[in-house]
């Protein structure tokens, strides 16, 4: 059934195209005439009843009788609702008036016209048309809505608290054992607190990335410590990523033993140097 209908439509389309082709070739001019006739016939199928005769002319006004009030045939505001700062067009058409005026500071206007208005709040305009017979008023309203708020300005780091400062005060170093890069028990709780702080800081500095620096104490070889510092920074980053910190904004870098915190040759100092430190990324 369905396919049959489709085919039928297709055949109609085809016949239409054929018809055009015939027109173009002018071969079947008579067919066009026939078509037109058919069209007329179709158009005239349901003829309306004949128009009633025009009403008799109104009686001539009597001189002593006051003239009819002016007629305001249109008074509109297009569009009728705007956002603040946009404009609307008042359009009016008055007949039989000696004077036409619109309030709200527009004043006297001609009998028909347009005026662009840009009210700052919802306003109802009143058109007053006068003649000797009196005044006719008409109203048009323009409702004004507040525009949506502008997009918030890009977040700038607060001048008073820099990224470095935030990292220094809110994100703590974590410490490791000699030649080890697994996250110690004490470092786990520090990293959990760091993860919250880092999420806040990354939200406040949406364009910043943070360096996760791996450092080592001076005892291992400088070469091996490069590899060890890299493992430490990767361990810290993986731990933080597990806690939901955006991994793509944490950059690991190993300084090996090239940037010690402390240079004494004792375990206190060694421990201070076996660390992961967080700094503003380049």
């Amino acid at each position: 059934m369905l396919s049959a209908q489709v085919r039928e439509k297709n055949s109609e389309l085809v016949s239409g195209r054929d018809c055009l082709e015939m027109i173009r070739t002018k071969k079947f001019t008579w067919l066009i005439l026939a078509c037109i006739l058919v069209a007329f016939a179709a158009g005239c199928k349901k003829k309306p009843p004949p128009a009633p005769p025009p009403p008799p002319p109104p009686p001539a006004p009597k001189a002593e009788v006051a003239p009819a009030k002016p007629v305001v045939s249109t008074f509109s505001a297009q569009p009728s609702s705007i956002q603040r700062g946009q404009s609307s067009t008042l359009r009016w058409n008055v007949s039989g008036a000696d004077s036409v005026s619109i309030d709200n500071g527009i004043g006297v206007v001609s009998a028909s016209g347009t005026r662009s208005v840009s009210p700052s709040s919802s306003t109802t305009y009143t058109l007053t048309a006068r003649n000797a017979g009196g005044a006719t008023t008409s109203q048009a309203s323009v409702s004004v809505s507040d525009p949506p708020p502008p997009p918030p300005p890009p977040v700038q780091p607060k001048a008073t608290v820099s990224l470095d400062e935030r990292l220094r005060t809110e994100v703590a170093d974590i410490y490791f054992d000699y030649d080890k890069y697994d996250v110690r028990e004490d470092a786990r709780s520090v990293l959990s607190r760091n993860s919250d702080a880092l999420k806040r800081i990354l939200a406040d500095f949406p364009n910043a990335s943070i360096s996760v620096e791996g450092h080592c104490d001076e005892r291992g070889s400088a070469e091996y410590n490069l590899g060890l510092g890299d493992r430490r920074s990767t361990s810290a980053k993986e731990f933080l990523t597990q806690l939901g910190v955006a991994g793509d904004r944490l950059r690991t870098i190993s300084f090996g033993k090239e940037k010690p915190q402390c240079s004494d040759a004792n375990e206190d100092c060694y421990q201070k140097n076996r660390r992961v430190h967080f700094s503003a990324g380049q």
Binding site: D179, G220, E258
Partner: protein, 452 residues
């Protein structure tokens, strides 16, 4: 004390003696000499303008001959009073029994000097140049014709540097006539803090001519030279994360090298033919692993597949299919040997302490390295090992922290860093642990590498 105890003590003594003999044997093989020849090196004099530089000349000549490790230096206090300055000054004894007519070879070959060899000569000024007339004798020969090994004229600018060059050239000729490879012309590259930050510097084998190579204003270290001495590969923080850079030593310019996208690309060294670089990288994520690539960084191939830190790879200079490196795969860092195709992995060090900084001897049979065995972490001593037998000899014994040994082209000397003098400085010594000499003083100086 019962018999059992005595037996144990005897056994221990035997073992100690065997070890000592074995160690001595390895050092001797490296030094390639049993008894050292004795050389007397009298001070030369200069005529006119040349005399002002003779202090430098005499010290340099003495140092070069002593540093070669090929001689025992005869004590100067025992030298004869009459020192000849040229061939014409010799006076053979005459008469029966022979009576001395003046300076003669036996003055030097007999006790107390007991020398085998003697260089003599003098300097003067010719056409504004400093000129050296040098003569070299084997004083154990019976007559002058046989005793004179060579005589030669040398020219150099009339400056202190010129006098040093004359001495180096004369010493080099003496050593080459005796079949000893000379170190003259060889360079030592190292990391120095003297200008702030860490930059690579270069100097002559004796510490002269110290010159800055890199000016990257960062931390730059771990230099490694190509076998032909024309290029230097190193690690720098100049671009943020540690990355590899290669310099031409002929133009002192950077050569193109593509670094892998990784948190770490470090410790590069060249293949013996200079066409490949082997290095450590975190390109695959995880711990730093070893890779090879072409000298421009293309053609990357992964070499190690461990989940531990692998770093400091060095191709065997005589066998590019073999290399040594440092790995944490067994716990603390130790030295491993492996074929470049990943087969035959052998741990060379015992697993005790931290063993790092392997450096191949030019003959590809021995390595030198740093080890904390028997000491607290961080207290490295230098060792040498016969790679085939894993036999080791300890060269330093707790004199500060001794690291990064690197063999001289002659295979008899080592350069290394040590803090034995209070701060970390570059030192050289012979492979038997003798003739230690401090080459640097300004700032901290470390990670030396000896290049052709």
């Amino acid at each position: 004390m019962n018999k059992k105890h005595i037996f144990l003590i005897l056994a221990a003594l035997c073992a100690a003696v065997v070890t000592l003999v074995a160690q001595t044997d390895m050092v001797l093989r490296i030094m390639k000499s049993g008894e050292l020849a004795v050389i007397a090196v009298p001070d030369f004099r200069g005529s006119g303008e040349a005399q002002q530089f003779m202090g430098t000349f005499n010290a340099t000549l003495f140092q070069d001959l002593q540093d070669s490790g090929n001689f025992r230096m005869a004590p100067k206090s025992m030298y004869p009073l009459q020192v000849p300055q040229r061939a014409q000054d010799w006076r053979p004894p005459t008469g029966t029994p022979p009576r001395s007519q003046g300076p003669w070879l036996t003055d030097w070959s007999n006790p107390p000097v007991s020398a085998n060899y003697l260089p003599i000569g003098y300097t003067g000024v010719q056409n504004g140049q400093m000129v050296l007339f040098g003569f070299f004798y084997n004083v154990t020969q019976p007559d002058l014709a046989n005793a004179q090994v060579f005589n030669k004229l040398y020219l150099a600018p009339l400056t202190e540097e010129g006098s040093r060059k004359l001495a180096h050239d004369f010493a080099a000729d003496i050593l080459s006539r005796l079949g000893v490879q000379t170190l003259a012309g060889s360079k030592i590259y190292f990391t120095s803090t003297r200008g702030g930050g860490k930059e690579i510097w270069g100097m002559d084998h004796d510490g002269a001519n110290q010159k800055q190579v890199t000016r990257l204003g960062s931390t730059t270290s771990f230099a490694s030279a190509s076998a032909d001495g024309t290029r230097l590969a190193f690690t720098t923080f100049a671009k943020g994360n540690p990355s590899i850079m290669i310099y031409s030593l002929e133009t002192m310019r950077q050569l193109p090298f593509y670094n892998q996208r990784a948190s770490l690309n470090a410790t590069p060294s060249f293949s013996p033919d200079g066409k490949q670089v082997i290095f450590s990288s975190t390109a695959a994520g995880g711990a730093a692993q070893l890779y090879t690539c072409n000298v421009d960084g293309a053609g990357l191939k992964r070499v190690t597949f461990s989940n531990a830190i692998d770093i400091e790879p060095k191709f065997n200079p005589k066998n590019p299919r073999e290399m040594v490196f440092v790995s944490g795969r067994g716990g603390p860092p130790q030295i491993y040997k492996m074929n470049i195709d990943g087969t035959d992995i052998v741990r060379l060090t015992s697993g005790e302490g931290d063993a790092v900084n392997p450096s191949w001897h030019p003959d590809g049979q021995f390595i030198a390295f740093s080890w904390t065995r028997g000491f607290a972490p961080g207290n490295y001593n230098l060792f040498i090992m016969d790679v085939a037998t894993k036999e080791i000899t300890q060269l330093t014994h707790g004199a500060g922290r001794n690291e990064n040994p690197s063999w001289a082209p002659d295979g008899r000397h080592l350069v290394f860093s040590s803090n034995r003098s209070g701060s970390t400085q570059v030192w050289t010594m012979l492979a038997d642990g003798k003739q230690t000499r401090q080459l640097t003083t300004q700032g901290r100086n470390e990670n030396p590498v000896w290049s052709k």
